[in-house]
């Protein structure tokens, strides 16, 4: 019983210590360096063709906060977007791949239009021609006389 309590206490202490250590590490990190790092990652994603507008907007706010020495608020914002950014980075390949597929599929569809027009336009024309004249009645002029 005694050893179980000691073990639980040790686990609790270890958790507490790791939390304190993590917060110390976070506060020790230079906010400006972190800002530059995040900017680099965002620019990299943008170069791949991924929309990063929402992250740029947040980083602009971070820059404003850093300029008025509100580092803690800036750090909070950066930590918040860092998680989302990591998620986006892991999905980057798939996003780029699907964008490329859509782009070239659209190009192929547009390029096939002339062939489709060549094949289908006469058929469509003749269909419309007959459709618009289906109620017409043929009258033999000779029989009239």
């Amino acid at each position: 019983m005694y050893s179980l309590r000691t073990f639980a206490l040790l686990v609790l202490l270890t958790l507490l210590a790791s939390m304190v250590l993590q917060s110390v590490i976070v506060s020790c990190e230079d906010p400006y360096e972190k800002f530059l790092d995040l900017y680099g990652r965002i620019a990299d994603l943008a170069l791949k063709g991924i929309n990063v507008s929402q992250y740029v907007t947040v980083l602009k706010n971070v820059l404003q906060l850093l300029e008025v020495n509100r580092s803690e608020e800036a750090m909070e914002l950066m930590i918040r977007i860092e998680t989302n950014l990591s998620e986006l980075e892991s999905k980057a390949y798939n996003i780029v791949f699907s964008q490329t597929v859509i782009k070239y599929a659209t190009a192929a569809a547009i390029l096939s239009l002339p062939a489709l027009v060549y094949l289908l336009l006469p058929r469509l024309y003749i269909y419309v021609w007959f459709k618009s004249r289906k109620r017409w009645v043929l009258i033999n002029e000779r029989s009239k006389r």
Binding site: A46, L47, V56, L59, V117, P122
Partner: protein, 166 residues
């Protein structure tokens, strides 16, 4: 039997072919063919024209800076303010070898422009009173791949006369 008149059909086909080629070219061409960043110097009302001609050593000058990004990706731009003589101007490849007195950092999205209203200090040696100085503004961009600020080769300046000392 020709259902559609041959000439009419040929014209329609030609229009469709040209249209589809133009559409595909537009779709596949890179969005930014000539990436650039731009820097402009404006007067205190952020307009072209009413620039100060006289300054006072130890005083301030109200100006406005214009920065534009057309690089194709977000750019972290920094305008560095320096004071020098006419023979100390930067070039398109090298920045002026002068001390940076102030800097303005902005994050710009692709195709975004920003106006920075500012008051720059005229920190000069008193021996320059009565002479001409140049207020120099250089545009630097942060290159994440190199992890450093790089001079973009873009700069602007304003020649002024030092009228006195504060």
């Amino acid at each position: 039997m020709n259902v559609v008149n041959d000439e009419v059909f040929a014209v329609i086909l030609a229009i469709v072919v040209i249209g589809s080629v133009i559409s595909v070219a537009t779709l596949l061409r890179p969005e930014v063919t000539e990436p650039f960043v731009a820097l402009g110097l404006l007067d205190k009302d952020c307009k072209i024209g009413n620039y100060p001609e006289l300054v006072i050593a130890g005083g301030d000058v109200d100006l406005c800076l214009y920065v534009f990004n057309y690089k194709g990706y977000p750019v972290l731009a920094q305008v560095r303010y320096k004071i020098g003589r006419n023979n100390e101007l930067p070039t398109n490849t090298t920045p002026a070898d002068l001390k940076t007195l102030m800097n303005f950092t902005r994050l710009l999205e692709h195709n975004e422009e920003v106006l920075i209203r500012t008051r720059v200090p005229v920190i000069i040696n008193e021996s320059l009173v009565g002479g001409n100085i140049t207020l120099i503004f250089e545009l630097w961009v942060y290159e994440a791949s190199r992890g450093e600020w790089v001079y973009s080769g873009v700069w602007t300046n304003l020649h002024v006369k030092v009228a006195g000392v504060r």
